[in-house]
Amino acid sequence: MRETERQHIFENWLAQYMVIIFKVVRAYAFTTADHDDLFQEITIQVWHSIPNFRQESSATTWLYRISLNTAIKWLRKERKHPQPETLDKVEHVLQESRMPMDERLAWLYEEIYKLDEIDRSVTLLMLDNFSYKEMANILGISESNVGVKINRIKKQLISKSKKKDHYGI
């Protein structure tokens, strides 16, 4: 694959599917520095993955696979060797959007963040309408396992959201 072709695909993917990368970054990284770090890591892996993209799956499935796998690996590495927090004023490449995030969306991300790394992936894919088969394929787990996880996560999220509504938190 020629470099210009690769660059073209990369720019195209970033322009069309940046939202996927942002969702994964938001679900797996907590601090602003971590958002930057994971975003950088995912974009690098996406770049590396382009020559291996055979169009057997859609670009969204491919990008989710790369992003989630990178995020899971990044999280494991971070747990093993956490980067010390710096007090220096660092400029971050990712800047919060001017519009404040919907309170309910912020709550949803908080709940996703509390899940373990695989359940977070399942939740993201479930909310983005992936089929059991696609999820199983992306995450390398069985379809029945996906089904069990989805049932549990759905129940958990609905029950927590009802509690939240009830107590007005």
Partner: protein, 190 residues
């Protein structure tokens, strides 16, 4: 909330991205990468020139003063001096080319990529020149009748150097890719 409502909340972010790229921060990151690439290239380039020039003249001087007829040692000296002069001319060409880039974000990024590309070529040259240097050294030692264990130790040393230079080359290639990815992000923003 029922699941459908949760889904609606989730889908709302598809219209409004959570983050925007901070162009100033991106430019500062590019400047820092440019500075780093320039520093690494400048230092390794000078180091290669000095080491090859010094070692080449040293081997040549030793051979001339001892009236040695060892052809391989002369070839080794010629190779090292050739590499040193080639690097010196490349450096002059590179420094002249540096002035072509403007001080915009794109100019800085293109400059950093150009320096990184040069560094990748430089490390490749260093990597491949180990082969003739190793070969001439070993043949020279064999010709002068040095014992086998010295030749084995030298061979191991060159094998280790080849491995280290391969690893180093990988680092420079990765740094160049990071810059190209940054360029992709920047072009996507426009």
């Amino acid at each position: 909330m029922e699941f459908d409502e949760l889904k609606q909340v989730w889908d709302s972010q598809n219209n409004e991205l959570l983050w925007a790229i901070n162009e100033q921060a991106l430019h500062n990151r590019i400047l820092s990468k440019k500075k780093q690439a320039h520093h690494i290239t400048n230092t390794s380039e000078l180091l290669l020139i000095i080491v090859n020039m010094g070692a080449g003249y040293f081997v040549l001087q030793m051979n001339l003063s001892s009236h040695s007829g060892n052809i391989f040692m002369y070839l080794l000296a010629a190779w090292m001096l050739g590499i040193a002069w080639y690097l010196l001319f490349s450096r002059i060409r590179r420094l002249k080319k540096d002035k072509q880039f403007d001080r915009s974000m794109h100019g800085d990024l293109n400059y950093a990529i150009s320096v990184a590309t040069y560094q990748v070529r430089l490390s490749l040259l260093g990597r491949w020149s180990i082969l003739p240097i190793g070969l001439f050294t070993l043949l020279g030692l064999w010709e002068s009748g040095k014992s086998a264990w010295i030749i084995v130790v030298i061979l191991m040393f060159f094998a280790l150097t080849t491995y280290a230079s391969r690893w180093e080359h990988g680092i420079y290639k990765r740094k160049k890719r990071e810059l190209e990815i940054l360029k992709g992000k920047l072009e996507k923003e426009e």
